[in-house]
Symmetry: C2
Subunit: 154 residues, 2 copies
Amino acid sequence: MSQVSTAPRWLDAEQQQVWRTYLLGSARLAERLDADLRTFGLDLGEYEILVTLSEAPERRARMSELAEAVHQSRSRLTHTITRMENAGLVDRASCPTDRRGVWAHLTDDGFRLLESAAPRHVEAVRRNFVEAMTAEDYAAIGRAFAAVLAVPAD
Amino acid sequence: MSQVSTAPRWLDAEQQQVWRTYLLGSARLAERLDADLRTFGLDLGEYEILVTLSEAPERRARMSELAEAVHQSRSRLTHTITRMENAGLVDRASCPTDRRGVWAHLTDDGFRLLESAAPRHVEAVRRNFVEAMTAEDYAAIGRAFAAVLAVPAD
DNA sequence: GATGGACAGTTGAAACGTCAACTACCTTCC
DNA sequence: GGAAGGTAGTTGACGTTTCAACTGTCCATC
C-alpha cells in the first residue's frame, strides 16, 4: 500500500522568518513607491507601462507584448490603457500587419509625464531598495528572482 | 545661487536589470501562490490572516494589530474580515478593555480550512521560492528585506 | 469634569482588477 | 477553399480595494 500524501514539509523557523520578512518588506516597498508616484497621478503599474513604451521602437508596443512586459493580464491592460488614453498619456492604433493587433503608443504628454516622474521615482527605488542593502545582497536578489522566473509552470 | 535639484542618479544597466527581474519575479510568485490558494477559495491576503490568527493567543487579535501583521489597510481589513465572517471563517467580538477595539477571532471552521490549505501552500512556497534558489541567496533575501523594512519613513 | 486631540474601526462610493464570454482575425491542414 | 482551432483584444458584470468622511472611545491637560 503506497502512501498517497506524505507529511507536509513545513518551513523551519529560519526559513519561515525569511519568508515573512519578504512578504512584509515587498509590501512595504510597493506601498512606498506607489505613494511616491501618486504625486503624479500614477501607480507603479502605469509607470511601468510608460517606461516600457518609452523604450520601445517608435514608442509603441502591441498590447500583448506590453501585457507580458509589465506582467498584467490582457484584460487589465485593456482597462488601464483605456484610462490612460482618456488621460491623454497613450493612444491606440491598429496594427497594419495583423489586423487583430493593437499598438499602444506613448503620446508626447505621456512622455513628458514620465520624464517628470522618473527622477523622483528612481530616487525612491534607490532609497527604499537598491541602497537599503549591500551590493552583494542586491546581486543575490537578481539571481534569486531570475531563478523564481525559471521555475516551470507545473 | 544654490542648485535646488541635482541631476537624477539613474540606475546603471545592471542595477536596472535586477530591479526589473525583481518586479517580474515577485509578481509571478504572487500569481502562482494565489492560483494555488484559489483551490480553497482563499487568496494570499486571507491566508495570511488565517495564519496570523491561528498563532495568536486565543486565536484572536485586534483589528489594527492584524492589519499591521498582514500589511493591509484598516479599511481593507474591515471589508475582508466582514467577508470572512460571512463565510464563517472568523467572528468578531468587542474588546472588553478598550471599547473602541474589536477582536477578530478564528473559528473552528476557519482553523480547519487553514489546516487543509497549509500543506499545499507551503509546498508551493517551497517550490516557487525557497527551493528555487540557493540557500545563500535565500538568506540574502532575508537580510535585504529586513533592511528595506528598516528604511525610515521619510 | 470639560475640551481638544489622538486612536480604533466602519462606511459608502468610486476606482480598479478579475473572470468568462465574446468578436475578429489568422493559421493549418485536409 | 473551408472547417477547426488558435491568437489578439475587448467587453461588461461582478468582486475587491481605496479613499475620504464619519462615529465612538480614550487620554491629556486645564
